[in-house]
């Protein structure tokens, strides 16, 4: 009876999670959705505390307080641009918690549920440790790279993939030993081997590719929770863990598709693109690069009526969104039509640009999708490319041989004038050179995006005052 009650409570929580995720599908209901989901979590925790056979509340209280304070402070203090690494590390914590719970069963923390074969239980313990430990250590590396605690460049050993395979197989074989012997030492060895595997999987991934890895690790942490559900025969964990698992895999798939990469490749760790020389054999870049300066840009802006802002990863890096908002205010006050052209994979996370623009209070109705933007672009006087590169690269449309070929782009080359803000002529995320910079109608404004925008705004104000 008590067991049934708690199962029903978990079911209600799971339904609340689903409902919360559903409400996430509109900006208007999203905040409420998150609260509902949090309420589901509260219900699950309370039900557990009341109904399960819990005798030592002191440990729990200490653990919860430490966790709540640390997590709360972290969430409160972190900058919005540090979101990817924050999600990564929280995620890792979920993973290691699952692994620790699994190990604790071997120390007798739970009775094996009636009807579950001992071997099955131990196999689930082994898998939970593997997935949990890979999640934690992988997430930790991702965090460290993004936070620039360790170097962001891809680091890779000779025969890297072979080593990964060896590690994975070892972990599985050790799980076999654990199943047959029940010896807890195997659990710790599995934990260690999986830790190395987690590090090895993420260390060869470049900083720019990290969001794909994080999203995949997110799926893994869900999977780890679901597997610990099998360990504890806890249906609440199974349902909720698999929900998170699906969600993570779908997001990873969306990013993979957007980057024109195979999902399976990413699953086995082929995240960072290997650029080949031949890929560019067919690329011929003609034209001349024209530099411009803030003053000239201000004059151009003054005579323009319709202006498109096309932000990309560079806007996130330089945190230019507030400066952009200021320039936007200046221009609209002046009666100009300004819109934001948002590519679905601009930046490094799905919806990345939307988060930044929302942070800077850009009115929602000024944000246009890829399709809307492309239908407006030929009537646009100035397209202002703010730290974007791949998402405006005409080669994606015109050539068949590059890694980004076939990806839809925001066709700024069809605007009357293009102004590109970036620090150098370097390629973007994909490594593909960009012929846009050489077009007759395009001008480069070199420098950090935030600084450039601020200078343009200053010049524009001065120019208008004269």
């Amino acid at each position: 009876m008590r067991e049934s009650l708690i199962d029903i409570a978990y079911l209600v929580s799971a339904v609340l999670f689903i409902f919360g995720l559903k409400l996430l599908s509109s900006p208007k209901t999203a905040v409420r959705g998150n609260l509902i989901s949090a309420f589901g979590m509260l219900l699950a925790v309370v039900a557990t505390l009341f109904v399960k056979d819990i005798v030592h509340f002191r440990n729990i209280a200490i653990g919860l307080i430490i966790g709540a304070v640390a997590g709360g402070a972290w969430a409160y203090l972190v900058k919005m641009t540090q979101m990817p690494q924050t999600v990564a590390i929280f995620n890792g914590f979920g993973g290691i918690a699952s692994a620790l719970v699994a190990i604790s069963t071997l120390y007798g923390a739970f009775k094996i549920p009636e009807g579950v074969p001992l071997e099955w239980n131990r196999a689930a313990v082994g898998l939970s440790i593997i997935v949990g430990s890979v999640t934690f250590f992988g997430s930790f590396i991702a965090f460290a790279k993004l936070q620039e605690i360790i170097k962001g460049d891809p680091i890779s050993l000779p025969l890297h993939k072979l080593w990964n395979l060896v590690l994975l197989i070892s972990a599985l074989v050790l799980t076999g030993f654990l199943v047959s012997s029940g010896n807890v030492n195997f659990a710790w060895i599995i934990f260690g081997v999986s830790a190395v595997l987690g590090v090895m999987l993420v260390i060869p991934i470049g900083g720019a590719d990290m969001p794909v890895a994080i999203s995949l690790l997110n799926a893994y942490s869900g999977l780890a929770a679901a597997i610990s559900g099998f360990v504890l025969n806890n249906y609440g964990l199974i349902i909720t863990g698999s929900l998170v698992g699906s969600s993570g895999f779908i997001l990873t798939k969306i990013m993979a598709d957007a980057m024109n990469r195979k999902f399976v490749d990413i699953l086995i760790g082929n995240v960072t693109i290997q650029m080949t020389e031949e890929a560019f054999a067919g690329v011929q870049i003609k034209g001349r690069v024209k530099k411009t300066d803030p003053q000239e840009v201000a004059i151009l802006l003054d005579s323009a009526n319709t202006i498109a802002f096309v932000p990309g990863y560079g806007m996130a890096v330089s945190q230019a969104q507030f400066a952009v908002k200021e320039l936007f205010n200046l221009l609209t006050k002046d009666g100009k039509e300004v819109y934001f052209a948002i590519h679905p994979v601009a930046g490094r996370m799905p919806g990345h640009m939307n988060v930044l623009l929302a942070e800077a209070d850009i009115p929602y109705d000024k944000i246009k999708t890829l399709e809307e933007s492309n239908s407006l672009i030929s009537e646009t006087d100035i397209a202002f490319v703010i730290g974007a590169n791949d998402v405006v690269n005409p080669l994606a449309r015109d050539s068949k041989d590059t890694p980004i070929s076939g990806m839809p782009i925001i066709e700024v080359d069809r605007a009357k004038t293009v102004i590109v803000l970036k620090r150098s002529m370097r390629a973007g995320f994909s490594g593909v050179p960009n012929p846009l910079f050489y077009l007759d109608n395009s001008y480069m404004l070199f420098g950090d995006a935030k600084q450039s925008i601020q200078e343009v705004a200053k010049e524009f104000k001065e120019y208008r005052k004269l």
Partner: protein, 92 residues
Amino acid sequence: MVDPVTVGIIIFVLALISGFEVITKVPPLLHTPLMSGSNAISGITLVGSLVAAGAGEQRVAEILGTLAVVFASVNVFGGYLVTDRMLRMFRK
């Protein structure tokens, strides 16, 4: 007659399907909050940690459980708060 393992598998598959169907409806605009929101949910493993920490069985189990509670609750509290912060920026 009711085999808990089979039941677990059935529930697992149905939950995967529900998750898939619900998530594919979320627009790209909200994918970042979705990532962080579902990350918070993955802290559900806290539920298992609580039992391990409080079951009063072996000492090692208790220590492991308490550690798990700390980790999982950082995930839960941090995850929900950070998602809330992000989403509030959209509500204007």
